[in-house]
């Protein structure tokens, strides 16, 4: 078995539709895989290619194109190499196969993603338990359309009595008030 990440990917390309391969640096390779094959592909990397360590899994919200991109960061201890597996899933019908059987701690990540983004991972343990939040009844807070500032202002109130002045406006009002009031 070759340890060279590129040949691994080449080898796997025969069976999987790997796209957007990018070598970010010597020890990090990014690639994308269709949703259907993702878990099988990750299993293959873990069992066949020695990528035994799941550093983390997370998601990137591309709200403008309506997708969530899941990232599974796998690590090969022998080769000291990371592969980031990207999987695009729909932003509205957010569901993804669970990988808690491959790594126990993946269940915790999946719980977090369920809570913070609303992604469902059927079968993942304690998935619907509260993780960080309690009694949350808004849209999941990490989704990009959630505006944390206005939420905080409405809910927790800033202390009153603060006023700020814009230097440019202030100078304008005092030094040349009539020089700009037209067109």
């Amino acid at each position: 078995m070759s340890n060279d990440p590129k040949s691994i990917i080449e080898e796997l390309s025969d069976h999987y539709q790997i796209s957007e391969i990018k070598e970010q640096k010597a020890d990090l390779l990014l690639l994308k895989i269709p949703k259907e094959d993702a878990v099988q592909f990750i299993r293959e990397l873990r069992d066949g290619q020695n990528y035994t360590h799941l550093a983390f899994m997370t998601v990137i919200d591309y709200i403008e194109s309506g997708i969530f991109t899941l990232t599974y960061m796998l690590h090969n201890y022998a080769a000291h190499h990371n592969i980031a597996v990207h999987v695009d899933i729909d932003r509205e019908q957010t569901e993804m196969e669970s990988i808690h059987e491959l790594w126990v701690h993946a269940a915790t990540y999946q719980r977090e993603l369920r809570e913070m983004y609303g992604i469902r991972f059927p079968g993942s343990p304690r998935l619907d338990d509260d993780f960080c939040l309690e009694g949350w009844d808004e849209i999941p807070p990490m989704r990009r359309e959630f505006d944390t500032v206005s939420y905080s202002r409405e809910r927790f109130f800033d202390r009153e009595g603060r006023i700020t002045t814009d230097p440019r406006e202030h100078m304008k009002q005092i030094m040349y008030p009539i020089h700009t009031d037209n067109d």
Binding site: R159, G161, T164, T165, D166, H170, M171, M175, N182, D183
Partner: protein, 595 residues
């Protein structure tokens, strides 16, 4: 388990005989380290209220507020940062970014209170116990969040420059312009100082973003002479740029040029979207200099019929005849002027008021008149013999050069004066192959000319003789030459606190002979064409108009501006006068402005 394991822990008793760790009076004994990031201090006199600290604060802990006794002035907004210690996290980014380094931190850290609204104070202004503390966090000299060095602009080597009237400053490349624009902190202090109040931070932003079309639109909101100003503006904005406290200020003028250089003239109309809808009213403008044409542009945009009367054969006024083409190439000036004329502004050349057209006609025939006739009478040296034929005026020399005439300066020239006209005359003479000596009453630092101009003149080989006061001009042995007598001066501090005065030292006199002497110590205006009955209604001072709000005079239809009506006598002020008068005329003609 062994006996050793049982006994081993009793080793702790060994410590019983040592000096205890406990600090007896921790509160008193432990001031913060010399670098400790404690409570803020601000040196109010050094702070310019640019608000960069407020911008960078990720916690919104800083408000810019008015402080009693501090008024806005050029380069200082008069505001000072007020800290909310219910927000501050003592990251000291505000200290790092502070343009003047006036904001610092003390090493005090104790503040306990019952009332949460207490934690608000204006550093330096409010009486806090840590004000003036010696220790505390300061930005390290080798650590910068802002760059103090300006991006250098490529320029013609002095020896090359001397050979022709080719433009000396080459302009920024796109890359350089972005790099320079990146230094801006977007505080906007420059806006108040710019006579035209251009939206400087906004157009610099467009350079950064590479959106030159938007940049041009922003420029034309306040300045239709952007190509010109991008080259020869007196850039008072740069003098107040807070980034300058860290080294050099932003090259605001050149960034303006960077925008205009990248937009072809043919696309102006399309980009600016100027549509003229005639409103039937007619305005006369006297003088096709920057002031007059600026007014023409803004009035035309609002649909006024505009007729410009120009005594010379070409438009541009002092920009055309007073600024040599190695600083402002003709085609660049034309770029600005052509666009204004393309909107349908009619210019009548070789038409002088009082000669071809009478003042009263203008007042009677037009709905309003804007007068920006400029200064074209050289000031007198007020020394004996100054009407010597070999004493030329700086303006005349420049005028001749601009009109492709030989001013005949000779091989050996003395230029008297320290302003931009003097520098221009000196450099033009150098290009004519003359050796040039510049005589100036005060020191180089006191010269009203742009530092770059002075620097370039020196680079091109002009000799500067400072603290030199002309005393007499007399005939030389050779009738084609002239002799000047000048005396050395000592700078004497002014009792009233003004700038130091040069005082002639009569025992140190010099006598030198030149092919010609170029006098360039300033200009005055001529207002003789205004008939007496009108004259009585208008206010004058030192031979200039004194306009009221919106550049209006007591003669309601008459608006004035430019060098003849202000004391700064530079292009950008004239442009603003024109723009402001256009505002005023519009208000006047729509009935909003009642004098």
């Amino acid at each position: 388990m062994s006996l050793k394991d049982l006994i081993s822990p009793f080793y702790v008793w060994q410590r019983a005989f040592e000096k205890p760790y406990t600090q007896k009076h921790p509160i008193q004994e432990r001031p913060g380290a010399p670098r400790y990031r404690g409570f803020h201090v601000n040196v109010l006199e050094e702070c310019v209220g640019c608000g960069t600290c407020e911008t960078i604060c990720q916690n919104h802990a800083i408000d810019m507020v008015q402080v009693e006794g501090l008024e806005p002035k050029p380069g200082d907004s008069g505001l000072r940062p007020k800290f909310d210690y219910g927000r501050c996290c003592w990251c000291a980014l505000c200290v790092d970014i502070c343009t003047t380094r006036s904001l610092r931190m003390s090493n005090h850290y104790a503040w306990i209170t019952e009332d949460p609204t207490d934690f608000n104070f204006i550093a330096g202004a409010d009486n806090m116990s840590w004000n003036g503390e010696e220790y505390g966090y300061r930005r390290d000299d080798d650590y910068h969040l802002l760059r103090g060095e300006r991006v250098k602009m490529e320029m013609l080597a002095p020896e090359e420059g001397l050979k022709s009237f080719e433009e000396v400053m080459k302009g920024y490349t796109e890359e350089q312009a972005k790099d320079e624009a990146d230094r801006c902190v977007e505080c906007g202090l420059c806006v108040a100082t710019c006579p035209a109040h251009m939206s400087i931070p906004d157009y610099i932003k467009t350079v950064r973003e590479g959106d030159y079309e938007k940049g041009l639109r922003i420029l034309y909101e306040t300045n239709p002479f952007s190509s010109t100003c991008g080259r020869i503006c007196t850039h008072r904005c740069e003098e107040v740029c807070p980034v300058g406290h860290q080294g050099e200020p932003l090259a605001i003028r050149w960034l303006k040029r960077a925008i205009v250089d990248r937009v072809p003239r043919e696309r102006y109309r399309e980009i600016l979207g100027d549509e003229v809808v005639e409103n039937g009213k007619q305005v006369a403008i006297v003088g096709a200099g920057p002031g007059g044409l600026s007014a023409a542009y803004y009035l035309r945009r609002q649909g006024y019929g505009v007729t410009v009367f120009e005594a010379q054969a070409r438009a541009g006024g002092m920009l055309r005849y007073g600024v040599p083409s190695y600083r402002l190439p003709d085609n660049q000036l034309d770029k600005d002027i052509e666009y204004i004329r393309s909107l349908g502004v009619e210019v009548r050349f070789n038409t002088c008021i009082g000669r071809e057209v009478q003042f009263a006609e203008l007042i009677d025939d037009y709905d309003a008149v804007f007068m920006a006739i400029g200064l074209n009478v050289p000031s007198s040296l007020r020394v004996k013999g100054e009407d010597h034929p070999r004493v030329l005026s700086g303006l005349q020399v420049l005028d001749d050069v601009a009109s492709d005439k030989n001013p005949g300066v000779g091989k050996n020239v003395a230029v008297i004066g320290g302003g931009n006209v003097a520098m221009d005359a000196a450099r033009v003479s150098r290009r004519m192959g003359a050796n040039v000596t510049v005589l100036y009453r005060r020191r180089i630092a006191d010269m009203p000319a742009d530092p770059e101009e002075i620097h370039e003149s020196q680079a091109e080989g002009c000799t500067f003789v400072t603290q030199a006061i002309p005393v007499e001009i007399k005939d030389a042995d050779n009738p084609d030459q002239v002799t000047i007598v000048w005396g050395e001066a000592e700078m004497v501090a002014d009792e009233k606190g003004g700038r130091p005065r040069p005082v002639l030292q009569e025992d140190r006199m010099h006598e030198e002979t030149y092919d010609c002497i170029i006098s360039a110590i300033g200009q005055g205006g001529s207002l003789d064409f205004i008939p007496g009955d009108y004259r009585d209604q208008i206010e004058f001072k030192w031979g200039k108009f004194v306009p009221g709000d919106y550049q209006q005079t007591a003669l309601q239809k008459l608006f004035v501006g430019g060098d003849i009506a202000n004391n700064t006598a530079d292009a950008i002020s004239a442009i603003e006068d024109g723009h402001h008068a256009a505002r005023g005329i519009h208000k006047f003609l729509t009935g909003e402005l009642v004098a």
